[in-house]
Point group: C2
Chain length 217, copies 2
């Protein structure tokens, strides 16, 4: 139902080679009633990509929650975050997922953590309605952004300074990348693997996952 992803700017300054001293830290923010596939899809992509490189120096993917206790994702799926806000490794790539996101928008500590973590991150990405959390943190002004098809109008009305676009799997604006709903986060994560470690690894990852990646082509 959607076209493939689109890159609206050339994010050359953010391109990183896989040749580096340590793994890139991919931090995925999860919360009560986060959508299960929104975080498990990207987790699968980055952990599979790491496995395929036969190297510990590619990606280190982990889940971060507000507090260090089990998180009940949507549908009653209980998982244990790797870290909480008070102590986590430096996050190079921050991924903020969707789900029942509305309560997150009202939490000052969540919004300020997202803003502060984004400032230090090299890439900040949203899946589905995770875009609302980035918007609330004031990170998306004047950028092209997408979200779940059901929430396009709401995002447009709530944050009039964002250029909300639909009919694409993901939008790459350089530092900020956003995807459509749920499974589109897998396509976007594969795009990030391609951007950060090369197209060949992204294609191998998609094949390992037996996922028909809709890349930007």
């Amino acid at each position: 139902m959607n076209a493939a992803g689109r890159r609206t700017s050339a994010p050359d300054s953010h391109v990183m080679s896989i040749e580096r001293d340590r793994a890139l830290n991919i931090g995925i923010y999860i919360y009560e009633n986060a959508e299960v596939l929104d975080f498990s899809g990207p987790f699968e992509v980055f952990s599979t990509a790491t496995r395929l490189t036969n190297s510990e120096s590619s990606f280190n993917v982990f889940l971060v929650a507000e507090e260090n206790r089990p998180v009940n994702a949507r549908g009653g799926y209980s998982l244990n975050p790797h870290y909480d806000f008070s102590a986590h490794p430096e996050i190079d790539i921050l991924i903020v997922v969707g789900g029942i996101h509305t309560e997150e928008l009202t939490k000052a500590n969540v919004v300020s953590w997202v803003a502060a973590t984004s400032e230090k991150a090299r890439v900040v990405a949203s899946v589905c309605t995770g875009a609302f959390i980035l918007a609330q943190a004031g990170l998306l002004e004047n950028l092209e952004v997408t979200t779940h098809w059901e929430n396009i109008e709401e995002l447009r009305e709530s944050y009039p300074n964002i250029n909300v676009v639909d009919s694409c799997r993901w939008v790459d604006e350089g530092k900020f990348v956003s995807s459509g709903g749920i499974s589109a986060g897998i396509d976007m994560s594969l795009h990030l693997v391609s951007r950060l470690a090369g197209l060949e690894l992204a294609e191998k990852t998609a094949r390992q996952m037996e996922f028909e990646w809709r890349k930007n082509s």
Copy 2:
């Protein structure tokens, strides 16, 4: 890379209508080093389908592990099963997932639980290398079965009485359904929603997940 699913027999005797007294219980078996998307994909499908029916009487999806403690899925993803072998609701649809499955084949209590649970279930499905666990329990003899493309030959050699097929997303043999690797479990789960509750709900679920379902068509 794969064709869509194929149905090798008419599973009419197993078709259930969504009109029934209670939700269908979908039990997903998870274990140490199970592949994250193998179980989170089907969980997302059945929980989203339930949400879209606006009814509590469609699907009740839960995770079952050998013991009642956190399970470390592949890549270091820790989750808390809903139930263990000693106490779980009656399972109507059993889904056995893949990952690093080899240790499961050596556990007598796992193999016997899968065999006993399958006997009472109406549908038994495998994702990815979960097919090896069903095979080890003696459930797949003389049936057409698929698995992850990397493991097709191994399944064929290990269990010569199974008709192992490749180049399809899933195979429906009536009571037993098997899918290809990782993301193919999402296609198969959407097929099960279609079979159990109708094509319309399956298509709505795929659209809600923004997933391009490769159905049997």
